[in-house]
Amino acid sequence: MANDAEIHDRLSRVEEIIEQLDADKVSLDEGSELYEEGQELLTEVRERLHDSEGDVIEIQ
């Protein structure tokens, strides 16, 4: 399956987190948790993009 949906969902959540931090309506602890979540999501996207080498399969 294409990675579009998973990448898109993660990036949308990171954008939400940035908005929440900008809005400054959460506690310091909650803000720290959100930041960690954002970092994890971006790491996951990078990992998806650096997945293993692709194969070339021939079908006669």
Partner: protein, 350 residues
């Protein structure tokens, strides 16, 4: 009948062990062609395709749909002819078969051209085009957008052609993690429509194929006729997987291009289109988002540090002077305990 003696055979057949240069062999072919009465003054009917001209000559391919023949007319001779040739014209050509020694190619050099009318093939293609347009097969609403980050791309092309390597290199140049499934297909000739359509159907049925490229290298227009057939058009139109065509350089729009979700000019362009550049995506999307997140959190932290300092300052400012209330409570508890002990001693209870 007895075999001819060796000496006699040598006189008739060239020495099989003789090693010729390419020029010598081509000269020999040319002399055979020129001396063959069956190849001189021939008349041939067919449809003109792949016509192009320059100041010295007019080049085109004559085809009957099954086979084709390269043709060339010198520009000055063509000007004297009462014929207006264009792609799709059906014509009877009269001339000699010629062998070009340097290029090793055979062609028909007509001295007379009789235009019969519009070609059957061209007319049939136009009829099919109109019919499919009426059915709405070319409409934008029917187009699917290929995914930007496919995991597996299917390719329908000849395994022996250059197109497959162009597609593979372009895809892995953009993103080396993508799997490529190449289905062998005959891309020209009478079997091509079925072969291409079967390839598309096969890949479309594979659930893990995210997009399909139907490709071949360039060729004469008559070689591309498979991509003007209803069979291939239907396979593309009914595919649930997005289909990108890469059928090679051609002036005319092919029906397969019109039905496809995306039409590209070359196999390389198709490969580059189908897969986003991983590096470009990281640089343009991920890295800016990482920076935005860091900046947002830093600002957030600073706001909260100020807030905490403010709360602390307010607490200190509003706190009563002297020992904190807990000390008073402890002192009162101790005094009550002493009072109980004294009262107990006085009453003689203790």
């Amino acid at each position: 009948m007895a075999d001819a003696p060796d000496t006699e055979r040598q006189a008739v057949e060239p020495d099989a062990r003789e090693v010729l240069s390419v020029s010598q062999l081509n000269d020999r072919i040319a002399s055979v062609v020129q001396d063959a009465p069956a190849l001189n003054g021939v008349r041939c009917i067919g449809e003109v395709t792949d016509l192009h001209k320059n100041s010295t000559a007019l080049y085109f391919t004559l085809t009957d749909g099954e086979a084709e023949l390269p043709c060339m007319i010198w520009a000055n001779r063509y000007r004297e002819m009462d014929a207006d040739l264009e792609d799709g014209t059906e014509a009877i050509l009269e001339g000699d078969i010629d062998y070009w020694v340097e290029g090793g190619k055979i062609d028909l050099k007509p001295w007379e051209v009789i235009v019969v009318g519009d070609g059957d093939q061209a007319a049939a293609v136009e009829r099919l085009r109109s019919e499919l347009e009426e059915r709405g097969w070319f409409d934008d609403e029917q187009k699917q957008r290929p995914p930007a980050f496919p995991e597996r791309v299917g390719v329908v092309t000849s395994l022996r052609g250059d197109a497959r390597y162009d597609i593979q290199n372009a895809i892995h140049g953009q993103d080396p993690t993508v799997d490529i499934l190449v289905t062998d297909a005959t891309v020209q000739g009478s079997n091509a429509p079925t072969s291409i359509a079967n390839g598309i159907h096969h890949l479309d049925r594979s659930e893990d194929v995210d997009a399909i490229i139907v490709g071949r290298g360039g060729g004469s227009d008559s070689n591309l006729q498979a991509f003007n057939t209803e069979r291939v058009a239907e396979a593309i139109f009914t595919a649930n997987t997005p289909v990108v065509t890469a059928i090679g350089h051609t002036d005319d729009r092919l029906i397969a291009d019109q039905v496809a979700d995306v039409a590209t000019i070359t196999p390389t362009a198709a490969g580059e289109y189908i897969v986003n550049s991983r590096q470009e995506f990281l640089a343009s999307e991920i890295e800016p988002l990482e920076q935005q997140l860091d900046v947002a959190y830093e600002t957030f932290q600073q706001e909260h540090e100020h807030e905490q300092e403010l709360v602390k300052a307010v607490d200190e400012a509003t706190a009563p002077e002297g020992p904190p209330p807990i000390y008073y409570k402890v002192a009162i508890a101790v005094l009550l305990l002493l009072l109980l002990v004294i009262t107990g001693l006085w009453l003689g209870v203790i």
